[in-house]
Amino acid sequence: MSQYDVVVIGGGNAALCAAIEAAEAGADVVILESAPEHMRGGNSRHTRNFRCMHQGPLSVLTDTYDEAEYYEDLLRVTKGQTDPELARLAIRESETCLPWMERHGVIFQGSLSGTLSLDRTNAFFLGGGKALVNAYYACAEDLGVTIRYNAEVRHIDLSEGRFSAAVLADGTRVEGRAVVLASGGFQADLDWLTRAWGPEAANFLIRGTPYNRGVVLRDVLDQGAVSVGDPTQCHCVAIDGRAPKFDGGIVTRLDCVPYALVVNRDGARFYDEGEDVWPKRYAIWGRLVARQPDQIAYAITDQKAQGLFMPPVFAPVKADTIEGVAQLLGLSGDSLRQTVAEYNAACRDGTFTPGVLDGLATDGLDPPKTNWARPLDTPPYYGYMLRPGVTFTYLGLKVTERAQVQGAHGLLPNVWAAGEIMAGSILGQGYLAGFGMTIGTVFGRIAGQEAAAYVG
């Protein structure tokens, strides 16, 4: 048994920000990270940037990105499913967070090649999220924070309406005067995902850490904490079907769809591949593929499309005929040949312009392909496999503007939450690049400050 001022559950960005703030305020802090040291950092280890409001150039960020524009961007992706107070707080505070991050060891770099569109809105971490996580752990260690790896919390003792201890998998009680819950969502618990979404979810790939199993979230909800966010939904994108079941991260993305013809297991097309540019469509395709038999789809391109999209990590299958590609992908050659023939017949003459909506659409095809529709006629042909990949879940804890958790009978006096475990209030739907890190940093810092003030 051990006793601390502040117990931080989780070991990602939000947890670290909370621990650092609390320790700097003089509190005796412990971080309980369920992963082993080499896997520390939750999904933060897969992130790459921080979306930041700023009036004028700030660090690596150019120009201005003000509150109104940032909030509009958020409304567009969430379709209004956000808590305006919390969202505006996160946006406003992001500007002071960036210098704070730099002071605590995070190094930024200019936007990465291929992401120029983000150089005004998102500050990229040099080395990515794992480098950020490393910097924060080093900072926390220097501040005297106790860090325990392989420390999976199974239960939060909230008897008598207040936190008294976190109970680990081996039964150990870690007692504290305050707690910050920052242990992420439940996307790595496939059983929970299947119960929430349906049996198809068993075939989903999990893009991030296998350690976000939602154990603490479930435990606290079972004890009456108020939830926010759609419990059945997850952020789900189309990724390379050969990616590992867990932890494939950024490299498993597959950007070929707009320049391909996409079929399901039966060799049939099911959606307009050319509806919009890929950054605006990859999230939709996760759900589309999830609705197909066996939750799988195949993108077929010909030689003409090579070089038009980022090279995927897994080499595509390659053959000189459509039947050859079908065979390599395990599809019926006849069906695929027929689908391609119908599509090719529906293509018309026009100017093909990659990257912008060129209006080169099929004629009389259902579903149509409304942009970039060129016939598949130049061998060799390439085949790619697509599966739904889950980024995060939306279900979370309801918190106040001070990150305090709402219990069954009012606010829990010594319980705060930060990061993915409470992000559902702000990000009720969709996703905005780099905003998860903003929520984690802003509310992690608030939670740490509040918890320290409470015990101080």
Partner: protein
């Protein structure tokens, strides 16, 4: 022959890096990698020699082992570099022995001592001042001129062969300036933002290795300049050694020797603290022996100067010159070559 299994493994890892790009800001390797339309074995050896083993990309990597993608770019590039140096060496067999085995370097050092003790015993001059009282200037030239020129000639041929492999063309002034600037500042050990590399402190950054390397490099260049200036003074001005403290050879050589001593000492100390699995683990012994050889050269040189006028001079002279001899002869077959290959890689047009 190019080791295909190594360049294939490097290519596999590069493919994953190319899809991720998080490390773009650390060093010169990544921007060049991302600009290549396709990877070839020659491109891989070029990038391998551009890598300074700062290890930033390893500690930042979300795909480092035990992840199933098993990315360890610093190690595979170190192995590939090592392969380049051994493959282009003349003869290859000597490179394979001395790169990998510290014991072989130590044996060469002892052979150097023996040669010099023998030479000093056999060729004891009738008269002479300073060191020349123990070994005449002509005898020194007789021993060191071939020991210096022949290895450099071999090295030059190796570099020409490497330059052809990576498709280097004519070098412009801009290429030279870029290379010089990068080497002078050890830009590729800066971590991209001046925070340094991840060497002796694991996932924490530190500039210790960059500073130790700078001391070694600049110290070495000052010692080399001291010898060159002395040679010019000897033949050009007829001003023969021994030189007083306030003379160009001593003013360059003494601080240079101190820098070299401190730098190599620090490099050896840092190497003991770094993870050998993020380098070419099989040549750890040879690399350490090379650093210690340079340390011996500088430490014995300083000791010799300190012992001026004492009875220790003849023994120290033999030891110092023996170490210098071993260092010269081993130049094409030890870690010493890394500097030349790296300059070539930095010079190659982007």
């Amino acid at each position: 022959m190019l080791d295909n299994s190594l360049s294939d493994e490097a290519t596999r890892q590069f493919q994953i890096c190319n899809s991720c790009r998080y490390c773009e800001g650390y060093c010169d390797v990544f921007p060049q990698l991302f600009s290549l339309p396709e990877m070839s074995a020659a491109q891989a050896t070029h990038l391998a020699n551009l890598c300074h083993n700062c290890r930033g990309c390893y500690y930042a990597c979300q795909y480092a082992p035990p992840h199933e993608f098993d990315l360890n770019l610093p190690a595979v590039l170190a192995e590939l570099r090592q392969d380049t140096w051994e493959r282009h060496a003349l003869p290859q067999a000597l490179a394979r022995v001395f790169h990998a085995h510290g014991v072989a370097v130590a044996a060469a050092l002892i052979a150097g001592f023996a040669l010099l003790f023998f030479a000093m015993a056999a060729l004891r001059p009738e008269a002479g001042e300073g060191f020349y009282a123990y070994l005449s200037h002509n005898a020194m030239v007789l021993i060191f001129a071939p020991a210096f020129v022949l290895p450099l000639l071999g090295l030059a041929l190796s570099l020409r062969s490497y330059w052809r492999e990576i498709g280097g063309g004519w070098v412009t002034l801009a290429d030279l300036t870029r290379m010089g600037g990068s080497v002078a500042r050890m830009k590729n050990l800066s971590g991209g933002a001046g925070q340094g590399c991840n060497f002796e402190k694991g996932s924490r950054y530190s500039n210790a290795r960059r500073h130790a390397h700078q001391a070694t490099l600049w110290g070495f260049l000052m010692c080399f300049a001291a010898t060159s200036v002395a040679t010019l003074m000897h033949y050009g001005l007829g001003w023969e050694a021994p030189y007083p403290f306030w003379s160009p050879p001593k003013l360059l050589g003494v601080p240079g020797g101190i820098l070299l001593c401190l730098g190599t000492g620090a490099l050896a100390w840092l190497k003991l603290r770094a993870d050998p699995e993020l380098g070419a683990a099989r040549v750890w012994g040879g690399e350490m022996a090379f650093v210690l050889l340079l340390f011996t050269v500088s430490a014995t040189g300083l000791a010799l100067y300190a012992a001026t006028g004492t009875a220790a001079v003849p023994a120290l002279l033999a030891i110092h010159l023996g170490a210098v001899f071993a260092f010269f002869v081993l130049t094409p077959y030890t870690k010493m070559v890394h500097g030349f290959y790296r300059m070539a890689a930095l010079m190659r047009r982007r």
